[in-house]
Protein backbone atom coordinates (compact mmCIF):
# COMPACT_ATOMS: atom_id res chain seq x y z
CA UNK A 1 0.00 0.00 0.00
CA UNK A 2 1.46 3.38 -0.92
CA UNK A 3 1.70 6.31 1.47
CA UNK A 4 -1.34 7.99 -0.10
CA UNK A 5 -3.54 4.98 0.54
CA UNK A 6 -2.11 4.43 4.03
CA UNK A 7 -2.84 7.99 5.14
CA UNK A 8 -6.46 7.82 4.02
CA UNK A 9 -6.98 4.04 4.49
CA UNK A 10 -9.73 4.27 7.12
CA UNK A 11 -11.89 6.50 4.94
CA UNK A 12 -11.01 4.81 1.65
CA UNK A 13 -12.39 1.50 2.96
CA UNK A 14 -15.78 3.14 3.42
CA UNK A 15 -17.72 1.92 0.38
CA UNK A 16 -19.26 5.39 -0.25
CA UNK A 17 -15.78 6.89 -0.55
CA UNK A 18 -13.21 4.44 -1.89
CA UNK A 19 -10.17 5.52 -3.90
CA UNK A 20 -12.38 7.45 -6.29
CA UNK A 21 -13.87 9.50 -3.45
CA UNK A 22 -10.42 10.16 -2.07
CA UNK A 23 -9.36 11.50 -5.44
CA UNK A 24 -12.39 13.81 -5.41
CA UNK A 25 -11.32 15.16 -2.02
CA UNK A 26 -7.77 15.63 -3.24
CA UNK A 27 -8.92 17.60 -6.25
CA UNK A 28 -11.34 19.80 -4.27
CA UNK A 29 -10.58 23.36 -3.26
CA UNK A 30 -12.05 24.80 -0.09
CA UNK A 31 -11.77 28.35 1.24
CA UNK A 32 -12.25 28.93 4.96
CA UNK A 33 -13.14 32.48 6.05
CA UNK A 34 -11.68 33.07 9.50
CA UNK A 35 -9.25 30.76 11.27
CA UNK A 36 -10.88 31.21 14.67
CA UNK A 37 -13.17 29.08 16.82
CA UNK A 38 -15.08 27.59 13.86
CA UNK A 39 -12.29 27.78 11.28
CA UNK A 40 -9.73 25.85 13.35
CA UNK A 41 -11.67 22.58 13.79
CA UNK A 42 -13.05 22.81 10.23
CA UNK A 43 -9.55 23.33 8.81
CA UNK A 44 -8.08 20.55 10.90
CA UNK A 45 -10.55 17.91 9.65
CA UNK A 46 -10.50 19.14 6.05
CA UNK A 47 -6.71 19.01 5.94
CA UNK A 48 -6.57 15.61 7.63
CA UNK A 49 -9.19 14.22 5.22
CA UNK A 50 -7.01 15.24 2.30
CA UNK A 51 -8.87 18.18 0.78
CA UNK A 52 -6.23 18.99 -1.81
CA UNK A 53 -6.27 22.78 -1.77
CA UNK A 54 -7.25 24.79 1.28
CA UNK A 55 -7.40 28.58 1.45
CA UNK A 56 -7.42 30.41 4.79
CA UNK A 57 -8.22 34.09 5.04
CA UNK A 58 -7.74 35.92 8.36
CA UNK A 59 -6.12 39.28 9.13
CA UNK A 60 -6.12 38.74 12.88
CA UNK A 61 -3.29 37.59 15.16
CA UNK A 62 -3.39 34.76 17.71
CA UNK A 63 -4.04 35.90 21.27
CA UNK A 64 -3.59 33.82 24.40
CA UNK A 65 -7.37 34.06 25.06
CA UNK A 66 -7.96 32.26 21.73
CA UNK A 67 -6.11 29.10 22.72
CA UNK A 68 -8.96 27.47 24.72
CA UNK A 69 -10.94 27.01 21.48
CA UNK A 70 -8.71 27.75 18.49
CA UNK A 71 -7.01 24.41 18.61
CA UNK A 72 -4.59 24.80 15.70
CA UNK A 73 -2.45 27.16 17.79
CA UNK A 74 -0.16 26.83 20.78
CA UNK A 75 1.68 29.25 23.00
CA UNK A 76 4.35 29.69 20.33
CA UNK A 77 1.71 31.02 17.88
CA UNK A 78 0.68 33.96 20.07
CA UNK A 79 1.23 37.24 18.20
CA UNK A 80 1.41 35.50 14.80
CA UNK A 81 -1.10 36.00 11.99
CA UNK A 82 -3.79 33.32 12.18
CA UNK A 83 -3.83 32.43 8.47
CA UNK A 84 -0.04 31.93 8.48
CA UNK A 85 0.02 30.08 11.82
CA UNK A 86 -2.83 27.80 10.66
CA UNK A 87 -1.04 27.08 7.35
CA UNK A 88 2.10 26.17 9.28
CA UNK A 89 0.21 23.69 11.49
CA UNK A 90 -1.81 22.16 8.63
CA UNK A 91 1.26 21.57 6.49
CA UNK A 92 2.70 19.51 9.31
CA UNK A 93 -0.61 17.69 9.81
CA UNK A 94 -0.77 16.81 6.11
CA UNK A 95 2.20 17.76 3.90
CA UNK A 96 0.52 16.27 0.80
CA UNK A 97 -2.01 19.14 0.48
CA UNK A 98 -1.62 22.75 -0.67
CA UNK A 99 -2.49 25.47 1.82
CA UNK A 100 -2.86 29.08 0.70
CA UNK A 101 -2.77 31.67 3.47
CA UNK A 102 -4.31 35.11 2.93
CA UNK A 103 -3.17 37.18 5.92
CA UNK A 104 -5.52 40.01 5.04
CA UNK A 105 -9.02 41.27 5.69
CA UNK A 106 -11.77 39.93 3.43
CA UNK A 107 -13.26 42.91 1.60
CA UNK A 108 -15.57 43.38 -1.39
CA UNK A 109 -12.40 44.34 -3.31
CA UNK A 110 -10.56 41.01 -2.86
CA UNK A 111 -13.50 38.61 -2.29
CA UNK A 112 -14.44 37.79 -5.89
CA UNK A 113 -10.85 37.09 -7.00
CA UNK A 114 -10.18 34.84 -4.01
CA UNK A 115 -13.58 33.03 -4.05
CA UNK A 116 -13.21 32.28 -7.76
CA UNK A 117 -10.22 30.02 -7.05
CA UNK A 118 -12.23 27.65 -4.81
CA UNK A 119 -15.16 25.20 -5.12
CA UNK A 120 -16.67 25.49 -1.63
CA UNK A 121 -16.65 28.39 0.85
CA UNK A 122 -16.80 27.91 4.63
CA UNK A 123 -17.97 30.83 6.77
CA UNK A 124 -16.21 30.86 10.12
CA UNK A 125 -16.35 34.62 10.57
CA UNK A 126 -17.46 36.37 13.74
CA UNK A 127 -19.49 39.38 12.60
CA UNK A 128 -22.52 40.21 10.49
CA UNK A 129 -20.77 42.47 7.96
CA UNK A 130 -18.45 39.64 6.95
CA UNK A 131 -21.31 37.13 6.89
CA UNK A 132 -23.36 39.26 4.45
CA UNK A 133 -20.24 39.93 2.39
CA UNK A 134 -19.46 36.20 2.23
CA UNK A 135 -23.05 35.36 1.27
CA UNK A 136 -23.15 37.93 -1.50
CA UNK A 137 -19.74 36.93 -2.89
CA UNK A 138 -20.92 33.28 -2.94
CA UNK A 139 -24.08 34.25 -4.84
CA UNK A 140 -22.06 36.31 -7.34
CA UNK A 141 -19.41 33.61 -7.90
CA UNK A 142 -22.02 30.83 -7.58
CA UNK A 143 -20.26 28.83 -4.84
CA UNK A 144 -21.87 26.71 -2.14
CA UNK A 145 -21.54 28.30 1.31
CA UNK A 146 -21.17 26.16 4.42
CA UNK A 147 -22.41 28.39 7.21
CA UNK A 148 -21.76 28.08 10.93
CA UNK A 149 -22.33 30.56 13.76
CA UNK A 150 -22.45 30.44 17.53
CA UNK A 151 -23.97 32.26 20.49
CA UNK A 152 -23.01 31.26 24.03
CA UNK A 153 -24.00 27.56 24.28
CA UNK A 154 -25.86 27.36 20.96
CA UNK A 155 -24.85 27.01 17.34
CA UNK A 156 -26.31 27.14 13.82
CA UNK A 157 -25.24 25.27 10.70
CA UNK A 158 -26.56 25.39 7.15
CA UNK A 159 -25.51 25.03 3.53
CA UNK A 160 -26.48 28.03 1.42
CA UNK A 161 -26.58 28.69 -2.30
CA UNK A 162 -26.36 24.98 -3.14
CA UNK A 163 -28.55 23.02 -5.57
CA UNK A 164 -30.74 26.10 -6.09
CA UNK A 165 -31.46 26.21 -2.35
CA UNK A 166 -31.81 29.27 -0.14
CA UNK A 167 -29.05 31.78 0.60
CA UNK A 168 -28.19 33.42 3.91
CA UNK A 169 -30.29 36.44 2.91
CA UNK A 170 -33.30 34.18 2.25
CA UNK A 171 -33.11 33.28 5.95
CA UNK A 172 -32.07 36.67 7.35
CA UNK A 173 -32.66 39.38 4.70
CA UNK A 174 -31.59 42.22 6.97
CA UNK A 175 -28.83 42.34 9.57
CA UNK A 176 -29.91 42.84 13.16
CA UNK A 177 -29.50 46.28 14.70
CA UNK A 178 -25.83 47.08 15.28
CA UNK A 179 -24.68 46.16 18.76
CA UNK A 180 -27.87 44.19 19.53
CA UNK A 181 -26.03 40.86 19.45
CA UNK A 182 -22.85 40.66 21.51
CA UNK A 183 -19.77 38.77 20.32
CA UNK A 184 -17.93 35.82 21.93
CA UNK A 185 -15.29 38.21 23.28
CA UNK A 186 -17.99 40.12 25.15
CA UNK A 187 -20.14 37.27 26.47
CA UNK A 188 -17.82 34.27 26.46
CA UNK A 189 -17.89 30.86 24.84
CA UNK A 190 -16.94 27.35 25.87
CA UNK A 191 -14.26 25.97 23.52
CA UNK A 192 -16.10 22.73 22.73
CA UNK A 193 -19.09 24.51 21.11
CA UNK A 194 -17.22 25.98 18.10
CA UNK A 195 -15.38 22.64 18.02
CA UNK A 196 -18.70 20.86 17.42
CA UNK A 197 -20.14 23.45 15.01
CA UNK A 198 -16.87 23.76 13.02
CA UNK A 199 -16.69 19.96 12.78
CA UNK A 200 -20.29 19.85 11.49
CA UNK A 201 -19.26 22.42 8.86
CA UNK A 202 -16.28 20.23 7.81
CA UNK A 203 -18.69 17.29 7.51
CA UNK A 204 -21.00 19.27 5.19
CA UNK A 205 -17.99 20.29 3.06
CA UNK A 206 -16.87 16.68 2.70
CA UNK A 207 -20.37 15.52 1.71
CA UNK A 208 -20.58 18.25 -0.94
CA UNK A 209 -17.11 17.41 -2.27
CA UNK A 210 -17.92 13.69 -2.43
CA UNK A 211 -21.54 14.03 -3.49
CA UNK A 212 -22.70 11.64 -0.77
CA UNK A 213 -25.47 11.80 1.83
CA UNK A 214 -27.82 14.71 2.30
CA UNK A 215 -26.46 18.14 3.04
CA UNK A 216 -28.11 20.87 5.11
CA UNK A 217 -29.20 22.91 2.08
CA UNK A 218 -32.71 24.21 2.64
CA UNK A 219 -32.34 23.51 6.35
CA UNK A 220 -31.14 25.39 9.38
CA UNK A 221 -29.66 23.18 12.08
CA UNK A 222 -29.79 24.53 15.63
CA UNK A 223 -27.69 22.91 18.33
CA UNK A 224 -28.05 23.57 22.05
CA UNK A 225 -25.02 22.25 23.93
CA UNK A 226 -26.61 22.61 27.39
CA UNK A 227 -29.57 20.37 26.59
CA UNK A 228 -27.69 18.40 23.90
CA UNK A 229 -30.52 18.94 21.43
CA UNK A 230 -30.34 19.27 17.68
CA UNK A 231 -33.34 20.82 15.88
CA UNK A 232 -33.70 21.23 12.14
CA UNK A 233 -35.91 23.81 10.40
CA UNK A 234 -36.87 23.98 6.73
CA UNK A 235 -36.03 27.22 5.00
CA UNK A 236 -36.89 28.31 1.47
CA UNK A 237 -35.21 30.20 -1.31
CA UNK A 238 -36.57 33.72 -1.77
CA UNK A 239 -35.82 34.62 -5.39
CA UNK A 240 -36.19 38.36 -4.72
CA UNK A 241 -33.34 38.22 -2.18
CA UNK A 242 -31.07 36.35 -4.57
CA UNK A 243 -31.89 38.78 -7.40
CA UNK A 244 -31.13 41.72 -5.11
CA UNK A 245 -27.58 40.40 -4.67
CA UNK A 246 -27.15 39.62 -8.36
CA UNK A 247 -28.22 43.18 -9.10
CA UNK A 248 -25.27 44.60 -7.14
CA UNK A 249 -22.70 42.43 -8.98
CA UNK A 250 -21.29 45.32 -11.00
CA UNK A 251 -20.97 47.64 -8.03
CA UNK A 252 -20.07 44.89 -5.54
CA UNK A 253 -16.50 46.14 -5.01
CA UNK A 254 -17.83 49.42 -3.65
CA UNK A 255 -20.48 47.96 -1.35
CA UNK A 256 -19.95 49.08 2.25
CA UNK A 257 -20.97 46.10 4.42
CA UNK A 258 -20.12 47.87 7.68
CA UNK A 259 -22.53 50.61 6.71
CA UNK A 260 -25.15 48.00 5.71
CA UNK A 261 -24.82 46.47 9.18
CA UNK A 262 -25.00 49.90 10.85
CA UNK A 263 -21.41 49.87 12.08
CA UNK A 264 -19.80 53.29 12.61
CA UNK A 265 -16.55 53.45 10.66
CA UNK A 266 -15.48 56.92 11.70
CA UNK A 267 -13.26 56.92 14.79
CA UNK A 268 -13.92 59.86 17.04
CA UNK A 269 -11.70 60.97 19.94
CA UNK A 270 -12.34 63.37 22.79
CA UNK A 271 -10.48 66.68 23.01
CA UNK A 272 -9.03 65.81 26.41
CA UNK A 273 -7.46 62.64 25.02
CA UNK A 274 -5.81 64.35 22.05
CA UNK A 275 -3.20 66.09 24.19
CA UNK A 276 -2.12 62.73 25.68
CA UNK A 277 -1.48 60.95 22.38
CA UNK A 278 2.15 60.82 21.33
CA UNK A 279 3.65 60.31 17.89
CA UNK A 280 0.56 61.35 16.02
CA UNK A 281 0.20 63.98 13.33
CA UNK A 282 -2.62 66.49 13.86
CA UNK A 283 -4.11 68.25 10.85
CA UNK A 284 -6.20 71.41 11.14
CA UNK A 285 -8.49 71.24 8.09
CA UNK A 286 -10.12 74.67 8.62
CA UNK A 287 -9.72 77.70 6.37
CA UNK A 288 -6.73 79.93 7.33
CA UNK A 289 -8.92 82.64 8.87
CA UNK A 290 -10.67 80.38 11.36
CA UNK A 291 -9.81 80.88 15.06
CA UNK A 292 -8.70 79.88 17.61
CA UNK A 293 -5.54 78.14 16.42
CA UNK A 294 -4.43 75.15 18.49
CA UNK A 295 -0.68 75.64 18.26
CA UNK A 296 0.23 73.35 21.16
CA UNK A 297 -0.70 70.35 18.97
CA UNK A 298 1.72 71.56 16.30
CA UNK A 299 -0.75 70.72 13.53
CA UNK A 300 -0.31 70.88 9.79
CA UNK A 301 -2.69 73.39 8.25
CA UNK A 302 -4.46 71.85 5.24
CA UNK A 303 -7.95 73.16 4.42
CA UNK A 304 -10.45 70.38 3.62
CA UNK A 305 -10.70 71.43 -0.04
CA UNK A 306 -6.97 70.79 -0.58
CA UNK A 307 -6.71 67.64 1.59
CA UNK A 308 -6.77 65.15 -1.28
CA UNK A 309 -3.99 67.01 -3.12
CA UNK A 310 -1.75 66.89 -0.05
CA UNK A 311 -2.45 63.28 0.95
CA UNK A 312 0.72 61.88 -0.58
CA UNK A 313 2.92 63.60 2.02
CA UNK A 314 1.55 61.27 4.72
CA UNK A 315 2.15 57.57 5.39
CA UNK A 316 -0.95 55.35 5.31
CA UNK A 317 -0.20 53.63 8.63
CA UNK A 318 0.72 56.85 10.44
CA UNK A 319 -1.66 57.93 13.23
CA UNK A 320 -3.48 61.03 12.02
CA UNK A 321 -5.91 63.15 14.02
CA UNK A 322 -8.04 65.62 12.09
CA UNK A 323 -9.99 68.52 13.47
CA UNK A 324 -12.14 71.36 12.15
CA UNK A 325 -14.09 74.00 14.05
CA UNK A 326 -16.82 71.81 15.59
CA UNK A 327 -16.26 68.24 14.36
CA UNK A 328 -18.51 68.15 11.29
CA UNK A 329 -16.11 68.76 8.39
CA UNK A 330 -13.48 66.55 10.05
CA UNK A 331 -15.77 63.49 9.70
CA UNK A 332 -15.75 64.07 5.96
CA UNK A 333 -11.96 64.42 6.10
CA UNK A 334 -11.66 61.02 7.87
CA UNK A 335 -13.70 59.43 5.08
CA UNK A 336 -11.43 60.97 2.45
CA UNK A 337 -8.29 59.57 4.08
CA UNK A 338 -9.94 56.15 4.66
CA UNK A 339 -10.93 56.02 1.01
CA UNK A 340 -7.25 56.53 0.19
CA UNK A 341 -6.26 53.55 2.30
CA UNK A 342 -5.33 55.30 5.54
CA UNK A 343 -6.02 52.93 8.44
CA UNK A 344 -5.27 54.93 11.59
CA UNK A 345 -7.27 58.13 11.22
CA UNK A 346 -9.59 59.74 13.73
CA UNK A 347 -11.22 63.11 14.25
CA UNK A 348 -11.79 65.28 17.29
CA UNK A 349 -15.31 65.44 18.71
CA UNK A 350 -16.29 69.09 19.04
CA UNK A 351 -13.30 70.23 16.96
CA UNK A 352 -11.12 73.27 17.72
CA UNK A 353 -13.75 74.71 20.07
CA UNK A 354 -13.51 71.64 22.31
CA UNK A 355 -9.71 71.58 22.03
CA UNK A 356 -9.52 75.26 22.98
CA UNK A 357 -11.73 74.73 26.03
CA UNK A 358 -9.58 71.79 27.07
CA UNK A 359 -6.43 73.93 26.76
CA UNK A 360 -7.93 76.58 29.04
CA UNK A 361 -8.87 73.91 31.58
CA UNK A 362 -5.31 72.59 31.52
CA UNK A 363 -3.85 76.02 32.08
CA UNK A 364 -6.08 76.73 35.08
Amino acid sequence: MNTFNSRYHRQIILPEIGEEGQKKLNSSKVLVIGAGGLGCPALQYLAAAGVGTIGIIDFDVVEISNLHRQILYGDSSVGKNKALAAKNRLEDLNPTIHVNAYPEKLTPKNAITIFSKYDIIVDGSDNFSTRYLVNDACVITDKPLVYGAIFKYEGQVSVFNYKKGPTYRCLFPEPPKAGSIPSCSEIGVLGVLPGIIGSLQANEVIKIALGIGETLHGKLLMYDSLSTQFSTFSIHRVDAEVLKVKAITKNFENTDYDLFCGIERIKEILAKDVFRIENCQCIDIREPHEQPKIESLNPDYIPLATLEKNISSYKKEQEIILFCQSGVRSRKAVEILQDHGFTNVSHVKGGAIALHEEQILKEV
Binding site: G34, A149, F172, P175, P176, K177, I181, D224, S234
Partner: protein, 78 residues
Amino acid sequence: MQLTIKYFGMLAEATAITEEQLHIDVCSVAELLNTLKDEYPKLRDKDFKVAVNQELVGNNYTINTEAEVALLPPFAGG
Protein backbone atom coordinates in the same frame (compact mmCIF):
# COMPACT_ATOMS: atom_id res chain seq x y z
CA MET B 1 -55.43 25.36 20.73
CA GLN B 2 -52.20 24.66 22.52
CA LEU B 3 -48.85 25.93 21.20
CA THR B 4 -45.37 25.03 22.34
CA ILE B 5 -43.16 28.10 22.00
CA LYS B 6 -39.38 27.59 21.81
CA TYR B 7 -36.94 30.43 22.34
CA PHE B 8 -33.38 30.22 21.01
CA GLY B 9 -30.20 32.16 21.72
CA MET B 10 -30.65 35.69 23.05
CA LEU B 11 -34.44 35.26 22.89
CA ALA B 12 -34.22 32.70 25.68
CA GLU B 13 -32.33 35.33 27.67
CA ALA B 14 -34.95 37.98 26.89
CA THR B 15 -37.78 35.73 28.10
CA ALA B 16 -35.75 33.85 30.74
CA ILE B 17 -37.24 30.58 29.48
CA THR B 18 -36.35 28.20 26.66
CA GLU B 19 -39.81 26.72 26.16
CA GLU B 20 -43.41 27.24 27.25
CA GLN B 21 -46.96 26.10 26.53
CA LEU B 22 -49.51 28.66 25.46
CA HIS B 23 -53.30 28.41 25.02
CA ILE B 24 -54.45 30.77 22.32
CA ASP B 25 -57.19 31.07 19.66
CA VAL B 26 -56.45 30.64 15.98
CA CYS B 27 -54.13 33.50 15.05
CA SER B 28 -51.58 34.74 12.56
CA VAL B 29 -47.87 34.68 13.36
CA ALA B 30 -47.98 38.49 13.65
CA GLU B 31 -50.79 38.29 16.22
CA LEU B 32 -48.95 35.63 18.18
CA LEU B 33 -45.81 37.81 18.21
CA ASN B 34 -47.80 40.76 19.53
CA THR B 35 -49.05 38.61 22.38
CA LEU B 36 -45.53 37.41 23.15
CA LYS B 37 -44.06 40.91 22.97
CA ASP B 38 -46.69 42.13 25.44
CA GLU B 39 -45.71 39.31 27.78
CA TYR B 40 -41.96 39.83 27.23
CA PRO B 41 -41.26 43.48 26.32
CA LYS B 42 -37.56 42.65 25.80
CA LEU B 43 -38.55 40.72 22.65
CA ARG B 44 -39.65 43.99 21.00
CA ASP B 45 -36.20 45.12 19.89
CA LYS B 46 -35.00 41.66 18.89
CA ASP B 47 -34.58 40.37 15.34
CA PHE B 48 -35.69 36.81 14.66
CA LYS B 49 -37.51 34.45 12.30
CA VAL B 50 -40.42 32.20 13.13
CA ALA B 51 -40.81 28.51 12.34
CA VAL B 52 -44.09 26.63 12.77
CA ASN B 53 -43.69 22.88 13.03
CA GLN B 54 -40.04 23.13 11.93
CA GLU B 55 -40.83 25.16 8.83
CA LEU B 56 -39.91 28.83 8.42
CA VAL B 57 -43.05 30.95 7.85
CA GLY B 58 -43.91 34.61 7.29
CA ASN B 59 -45.86 36.89 9.62
CA ASN B 60 -49.12 36.35 7.68
CA TYR B 61 -49.10 32.60 8.21
CA THR B 62 -52.16 31.39 10.15
CA ILE B 63 -51.65 28.97 13.00
CA ASN B 64 -54.88 27.01 13.28
CA THR B 65 -53.90 23.84 15.04
CA GLU B 66 -51.72 22.59 17.84
CA ALA B 67 -48.17 23.40 16.80
CA GLU B 68 -44.59 23.94 17.85
CA VAL B 69 -43.48 27.51 17.23
CA ALA B 70 -39.75 28.30 17.28
CA LEU B 71 -38.28 31.82 17.46
CA LEU B 72 -34.91 31.82 15.67
CA PRO B 73 -32.47 34.70 15.99
CA PRO B 74 -29.35 35.16 13.85
CA PHE B 75 -25.99 34.34 15.48
CA ALA B 76 -22.75 36.01 14.45
CA GLY B 77 -20.10 34.39 16.67
CA GLY B 78 -17.37 32.21 15.28
